[in-house]
Symmetry: C2
Subunit: 229 residues, 2 copies
């Protein structure tokens, strides 16, 4: 076997990054942050926050830099998702794109998103046409988010310290883009053993009121590390 089959040192290419940032808000539901593209081709179209990897940084550093420059957001936990590498995804020249994703509380970042950046939240269920393969990236990120939420309870950091079952269900309704059955959802969530019922009730919704719950943080951490420990 000729080694050249494996090591053809002539194909150097641009490496881009694109960030899929999900935001949650109880009223608005699941949102995705988009920016207006400032470059040809497709200038003026909506796009994910993206840029190219530079010489002096690794991918994690580049992702933070790009997000900051396009949105003003800092301290966002960005998780690497998947590399999009089809040969003709960028019409100008071959560019592979490493996608990053995050799930944040919209309110925590509202003050950072100033006019300067032209970044805007869109409902995750009704996005405009995005440039290149960005709609495909969003589809993949949504699928990943649902899978993650099915395998491990996530998103508690998006809720207040104490929350009602209705608030918790609304979060999962938003992630799954559906209306989950109230009774089933309650049973499943209680079965995880991760929730602590408080004595206090939320009486804003009804006279009878709804108990507040808290996350059993210790148990949650243990669970995330391993269920075999």
């Amino acid at each position: 076997m000729p080694v050249s089959v494996l090591y053809n040192h002539t194909h150097r290419l641009l490496v881009a990054l694109d960030c899929i940032v999900f935001g949650y808000d109880e009223e608005a539901g699941l949102q995705i942050l988009l920016v207006k593209r400032h470059l040809h081709p497709e200038k003026g179209s909506w796009a994910l926050m993206g840029g190219l990897l530079n010489k002096d940084e690794n991918l994690d550093q580049a992702a933070q830099r790009i997000l900051y420059h396009l949105t003003g957001m800092t301290n966002v936990y960005l998780e690497e998702l998947k590399v999009f590498s089809c040969q003709h995804r960028d019409p100008v020249e071959r560019t592979i794109s490493v996608t990053y994703t995050a799930l944040v509380d919209i309110h925590n970042y509202q003050h950072q998103l100033t006019e300067e950046f032209e970044a805007r939240w869109f409902p995750a269920a009704e996005l405009p046409d995005l440039i290149f393969d960005h709609n495909e990236m969003v589809r993949y990120a949504k699928h990943h988010l649902k899978q993650k939420a099915a395998l491990q309870p996530i998103g508690f950091e998006l809720l207040p310290d104490k929350f009602t079952f209705t608030q918790l269900r609304k979060l999962y309704d938003a992630i799954y883009e559906t209306q989950l059955d109230k009774g089933n959802f309650r049973r499943m969530m209680l079965a995880t053993g991760l929730l602590v019922q408080l004595k206090e009730k939320d009486k804003t919704g009804s006279k009878k009121g709804a108990y507040f719950y808290q996350l059993n943080t210790q148990k949650y951490q243990d669970r995330l590390s391993t269920f075999f420990s």
Copy 2:
């Protein structure tokens, strides 16, 4: 903000792929497949199966091509893991590496691994020093495998159609590189509801014998898709 901060179109780089292939065998435990490197630098050292992305292929295609050329293996389900992108990970010139991982039954591939390829299984717990950042890649892949096994039962495809609890525990012992508590493990696994106890017993190990179990394939598939459905 100058757009050039984001789009500096001069940094084109090589994109490599490296494959972490775990193999399981009840006797030998968890193994990792390595090959001898045929190129300078570090020629003759052990390494993961790697190569460069070519012009006419996407990353998934490149991963299959590289694995086939270096090991003779075909039809391996390779899953993208993570991109390693530190600036100086390759001493010759900047190259980012997209890692892929797989978990296979060693016996299914033994006949494909001929002398020609110099590919060899090593115990996952006792690897030699590998080139570049390949030991770090293996550490990351092992961590990922443990996390995955904690969140969703995996590896049933590595067991015979019917298996004893001892066989199942040995598989998890190998993944976790530990000796799990027999009673706890049995309780946890039965609690998943994924196992069906058969009437037949395995009497090779003791006179009393040990019941065989089967995976409830339907339930397993349902569970993997979502627990909220």
